[in-house]
C-alpha cells in the first residue's frame, strides 16, 4: 500500500504592500469623522476601505497628536 498522498494546496496569488501606514477605525462613521477633520485631512492619501484610511508617508506623528487633541486614544501599533 502506498501512503496516502498529501493534498497539494494551490498557492494563493497575493500582492504585498510593505511599510504601509494606515489608520483603522472601528466603524465607517468614525473614519468619516477623522477624514473630515480639517487639520489632518491633508495627511491622508485616501480611503482604502470604509474604515481604513491611508496615511501620507511621514505624517503619522501629526495625525496621532491631532487625534489625541480631538479626545481619541489611538493605539499605535508598531512592528
Amino acid at each position: 500500500m502506498f501512503p496516502p498522498r498529501k493534498a497539494v494546496l494551490a498557492r494563493i496569488p497575493v500582492k504585498l504592500h510593505r511599510r504601509v501606514c494606515l489608520v483603522l477605525a472601528t466603524d465607517a462613521i468614525l473614519a468619516e469623522e477623522i477624514l473630515a477633520h480639517k487639520k489632518i485631512a491633508q495627511d491622508f492619501c485616501g480611503r482604502l476601505t470604509g474604515q481604513a484610511l491611508l496615511v501620507r508617508p511621514g505624517r503619522l506623528e501629526n495625525i496621532v497628536e491631532e487625534l489625541q487633541r480631538m479626545g481619541h486614544t489611538p493605539q499605535v501599533i508598531q512592528r
Partner: protein, 722 residues
C-alpha cells in the same frame, strides 16, 4: 547541545586584546597564559580568554601576584560594576595602602587581570583582524589617550569572583573604641524596607514618560529640569523614615535612573524605555543593580548634591563612599561601627583628603552621613542605632548580600495582596507587600500620588491609555489589580477600565504594516483559513503588523510594493479613451483609493495582472461630487498615465466656457487638391465667403454665400459644379 552564549566580558576581552600591538599582546599572554610555544595571535587571544574563564588558572596567577594587588581586586568584588575610571582605581589603591596608586594598576594590566577600556575606541563597523590595526603599543602609551572622557578600565567578573576571598588590609580596620560588639543597647537598629529609592525611580519614570528631561551640551541637566527634580513633591520629598537628608534627592534619583539604565539618552533627551530585568527579579536584584551603579555617579555627591564640576571621573565621593561600605563589610555581623569613625577612617585613607587644608570646607567632613544614613540606608544596605558615642551603623543582611559578602538572605513574608482599589479609582498600596515588579506594573497603569508608609495611586484615563499603549492588554491590567487586591475590584473600577479599553480600541494606527492584497474575497478567505496572521480590513485586503509569521510557501507573490516610494505611471487608457487598465504588478496602494473615486471597476474584463476600470458620465460626476476638479484629474492623468487627459474624458466632463454646439445648413465645396483649397481659403476675394475649412480639400460655405463665391471663382476661371 547548543553552544552556550559567551559572557559579555569575553567579547570585550577579545576586542581589547585584538587592538593591542602584537608585542604587547605576547607580553600580557606570557604572564596570563604562559605559553610554551609561539602561537598565532588569534590562538593566543583564545587562550587568554580560556584562562580568564578557568578558576583554577586564575587562582594560580592570583597566588603569584603581590598581595596588595589581590586586595584591589577583592575590593572591586564588593560591587558588580566592572568598569571603573583610572582615577577611581588609583584612589582605591592608595586608600588600601599602596602609595604609588598607578603601579598596582599597571601590574594588573600586564598580568591580564585588568584591561583598558579601548575596545570601541575609534571603531566604526567591524573590528579589524587581531593586532592588524593596533591601537595600543604599551600601557604607558595608553595614558596619553586621556581625552575629555578620561581613561577607564574593565575587569572580567571571573577575576573579581576568584579574588573576592582575599583578606583586605588591616589599614581598613576601625580602632577598637569605634566598635561595639554584642552591645545590648544596640539590639534594635533601625532599618527600612529598601523601597524608597525604587519608588522615586518609578515616579521619575512617569515624569520622563510625560516630558523627557533634556541633557545640555555640557552633558548635565537643563536648568528647567533641575528645578523640576528639586521641586517635584514626590521626587524630592524626604523619605518617611529618613535618618538624614539626602541633598538634591530628586537630582540624585535622576542621575541614578540614567546610570542604572531606567532612562536612556536619545538625541539629547532622557527617555524612559521600560523597566529592566532587575525590576522583575525582586528587591535584592534591583538594589544590587542600583548599588553597582552608584560608583558611576558624576553629577551628584553626598556633600553638595548636584555639582557640575565633577564630571569625567574626577569626583572622589563615589570611591570614598564605596570605601566606607567596604570597611563596614569587614565588620563581624553583630558588630557596630561608630559613624564618625567610619568617616574619619575614609578621610585618613583616601588621597583626596590627604591635603586636608586645601579641601573646600564643605567637603572636609560630614559628607559621609548623607551617603550612609541617606542613600545606603534607604537602599536597605545599612541599619543604624543611637547609643553612647553617637550614631552607630552596620550592614544589614541584605547589605551584606548586595556587597557579595554573604549569599544567604532570609526570604521575606509573601504579602502579595497589598492593594486596596477603591470605587473612586484610587489605589492604596501598602508597603509590606510592594515589590519592584509590582511597583513597575502600577507605574505603567496609574499615577503615583503619595509615597509614604501607605502609598497612593490613581487610575486615570491617560495612565490606563499609556499602559495600553505600552503593550498591556485590558485583561492584564485587570488581572494585575485582582491578583494584588485585598478585596474584589469595585464594579465602578471594572467599568471604567472596560470603557477606557474600548475607547482605546476604536482607532488603531499601523505605523509600518504589511498589507496583503488578494485578487478577490475568495482568495483572502482561503488565506485566512490557512492561518494567515492578519486582520481582514475589506473583501480583498488584510493587514499584518509584520511579515514575521507569514508562511510564504502558501502564496504566489504577484508583486511587492514599498508604500514609501513615490507614485509611478501604472495605468493605460484604451483607444476609446474611457477604459483604463491598471497594471497590478506596478500599481501602488494609493491608486486603490484614487481610481474608484471616478471610475467603475469592471470585474468581467479584469484579470490577475490587469484590473479594468471604465469612465462614464456617472462615475466622473461622482468624482466631481466628492471634491475632484478638472485640474486635479489632469494632474492625475499626467502622473498615472504619463499623458494628458483623454479627449473622451474631457468631453464627458463638459465643454467648460466654450459655446454650445450649433446646427447650421452648409454647402460643402470639394476641390481637386489641397493646394487649391489653401488658395481659396487664403485669397481674400474667395476667403470672405468661406465659413470653415473642413479638411484638406473640403470647405464649408453658407447657403447665402454660395453665389458670391461662385462669382469670385469665375474671375479666375474656376467654376463650381453642382
Amino acid at each position: 547541545m547548543p553552544e552556550s552564549q559567551p559572557h559579555p566580558w569575553e567579547k570585550q576581552v577579545r576586542l581589547t586584546l585584538g587592538r593591542f600591538d602584537e608585542r604587547l599582546l605576547r607580553e600580557v599572554a606570557q604572564k596570563l597564559v604562559r605559553p610554551r610555544n609561539t602561537w598565532p595571535v588569534e590562538d593566543l587571544i583564545d587562550r587568554c580568554v580560556d584562562t580568564l574563564a578557568n578558576p583554577v588558572l586564575i587562582d594560580r596567577r592570583l597566588k603569584d601576584l603581590d598581595l596588595s594587588r589581590g586586595w584591589l581586586l577583592s575590593a572591586l568584588g564588593r560591587s558588580g560594576q566592572r568598569r571603573w575610571t583610572l582615577g577611581q582605581l588609583v584612589e582605591l589603591a592608595m586608600a588600601l595602602g599602596m602609595p604609588d596608586g598607578i603601579a598596582p594598576i599597571f601590574d594588573l594590566l600586564e598580568t591580564g587581570f585588568l584591561f583598558p577600556d579601548i575596545a570601541g575606541l575609534d571603531l566604526e563597523g567591524e573590528p579589524p583582524p587581531p593586532c592588524k590595526k593596533p591601537l595600543l603599543r604599551g600601557f604607558d602609551h595608553w595614558l596619553g589617550f586621556a581625552g575629555s572622557a578620561g581613561l577607564a578600565l574593565f575587569v572580567p567578573e571571573t577575576v573579581v569572583e576568584r579574588a573576592r576571598p582575599f583578606e583586605l588590609p588591616a589599614a581598613l580596620d576601625f580602632p577598637p573604641e569605634a566598635l561595639k560588639e554584642n552591645d545590648p543597647l544596640l539590639k534594635g537598629g533601625i532599618q527600612v524596607d529598601g523601597l524608597e529609592i525604587p519608588l522615586r525611580l518609578a515616579v521619575l519614570a512617569q515624569i520622563a514618560r510625560e516630558n523627557p528631561p533634556r541633557i545640555n551640551q555640557q552633558g548635565t541637566f537643563f536648568k528647567r529640569d533641575l528645578e523640576r527634580f528639586r521641586a517635584d513633591s514626590l521626587l524630592a520629598q524626604a523619605p518617611a523614615d529618613a535618618q538624614c537628608e539626602i541633598p538634591d534627592f530628586g537630582v540624585f534619583i535622576a542621575e541614578l535612573a540614567e546610570k542604572s539604565g531606567l532612562l536612556k539618552r536619545v538625541e539629547g533627551d532622557l527617555h524612559f524605555t521600560g523597566f529592566s530585568t532587575p525590576w522583575k527579579n525582586g528587591l535584592l536584584a534591583l538594589s544590587t543593580s542600583l548599588w553597582d551603579s552608584l560608583s558611576t555617579l558624576e553629577l551628584w555627591n553626598p556633600a553638595e548634591g548636584f555639582r557640575e564640576d565633577f564630571q569625567n571621573g574626577a569626583n572622589p565621593f563615589p570611591m570614598a563612599s564605596f570605601l566606607a561600605m567596604v570597611a563596614l563589610g569587614r565588620l563581624k555581623e553583630n558588630c557596630w561601627a561608630n559613624l564618625a569613625a567610619v568617616e574619619a577612617l575614609v578621610i585618613s585613607r583616601h588621597p583626596y583628603w590627604a591635603d586636608l587644608e586645601n579641601v573646600r570646607p564643605s567637603r572636609k567632613d560630614g559628607w559621609l552621613r548623607p551617603f550612609l544614613l541617606g542613600v545606603a540606608f534607604q537602599l536597605g544596605m545599612v541599619e543604624t542605632a543611637k547609643a553612647e558615642g553617637g550614631e552607630w551603623i552596620r550592614l544589614t543582611a541584605m547589605g551584606r548580600r548586595i556587597m557579595r559578602l554573604d549569599s544567604n538572605v532570609p526570604p521575606g513574608p509573601d504579602f502579595s495582596r497589598t492593594l486596596l482599589v477603591q470605587p473612586n479609582l484610587e489605589i492604596v498600596a501598602f508597603r509590606q507587600g510592594l515589590t519592584p515588579e509590582l511597583i513597575s506594573g502600577l507605574t505603567q497603569l496609574a499615577a503615583w500620588k503619595i509615597i509614604g508608609p501607605a502609598c497612593q495611586l490613581i487610575l486615570q484615563p491617560e495612565s490606563v491609555y499609556q499602559a495600553l499603549e505600552g503593550g498591556m492588554r485590558h485583561e492584564e491590567i485587570r488581572a494585575l489589580l485582582e491578583r494584588h487586591s485585598t478585596r474584589p475590584l469595585p464594579q465602578a473600577v471594572l467599568d471604567s477600565l472596560q470603557t477606557w479599553a474600548n475607547k482605546h480600541e476604536r482607532i488603531a494606527i499601523y505605523a509600518s504594516a504589511t498589507l496583503l492584497e488578494f485578487p478577490s474575497e475568495k482568495e483572502m478567505e482561503e488565506a485566512l483559513a490557512r492561518g494567515l496572521p492578519a486582520l481582514r480590513i475589506s473583501g480583498r485586503f488584510a493587514v499584518a503588523t509584520s511579515e514575521e509569521g507569514i508562511d510564504f510557501s502558501h502564496y504566489k507573490l504577484t508583486a511587492t510594493r514599498d508604500y514609501g516610494l513615490a507614485p509611478t505611471v501604472c495605468v493605460e487608457a484604451r483607444e476609446d479613451g474611457v477604459t483604463l487598465l491598471e497594471d497590478v504588478a506596478s500599481s501602488d496602494l494609493i491608486l486603490e483609493t484614487e481610481l474608484p473615486r471616478f471610475a467603475d471597476f469592471d470585474p468581467g474584463q479584469s484579470t490577475q495582472q490587469l484590473r479594468v476600470f471604465t469612465l462614464s458620465p456617472e462615475s466622473l460626476n461622482r468624482g466631481i461630487q466628492s471634491g475632484l476638479t478638472v485640474p486635479l484629474l489632469e494632474d492625475w492623468f499626467q502622473s498615472r498615465l504619463g499623458h494628458p487627459m483623454t479627449s473622451a474624458c474631457r468631453l464627458i466632463l463638459g465643454p467648460g466656457g466654450e459655446a454650445a454646439p450649433q446646427v447650421e445648413k452648409m454647402h460643402v465645396v470639394l476641390v481637386a487638391n489641397e493646394e487649391m483649397a489653401n488658395g481659396l481659403a487664403q485669397w481674400p476675394e474667395t476667403a470672405q465667403w468661406i465659413s470653415r475649412r473642413l479638411g484638406p480639400t473640403a470647405l464649408a460655405v453658407a447657403e447665402q454665400n454660395l453665389p458670391s463665391l461662385r462669382e469670385a471663382m469665375a474671375k479666375i476661371g474656376l467654376s463650381l459644379k453642382e
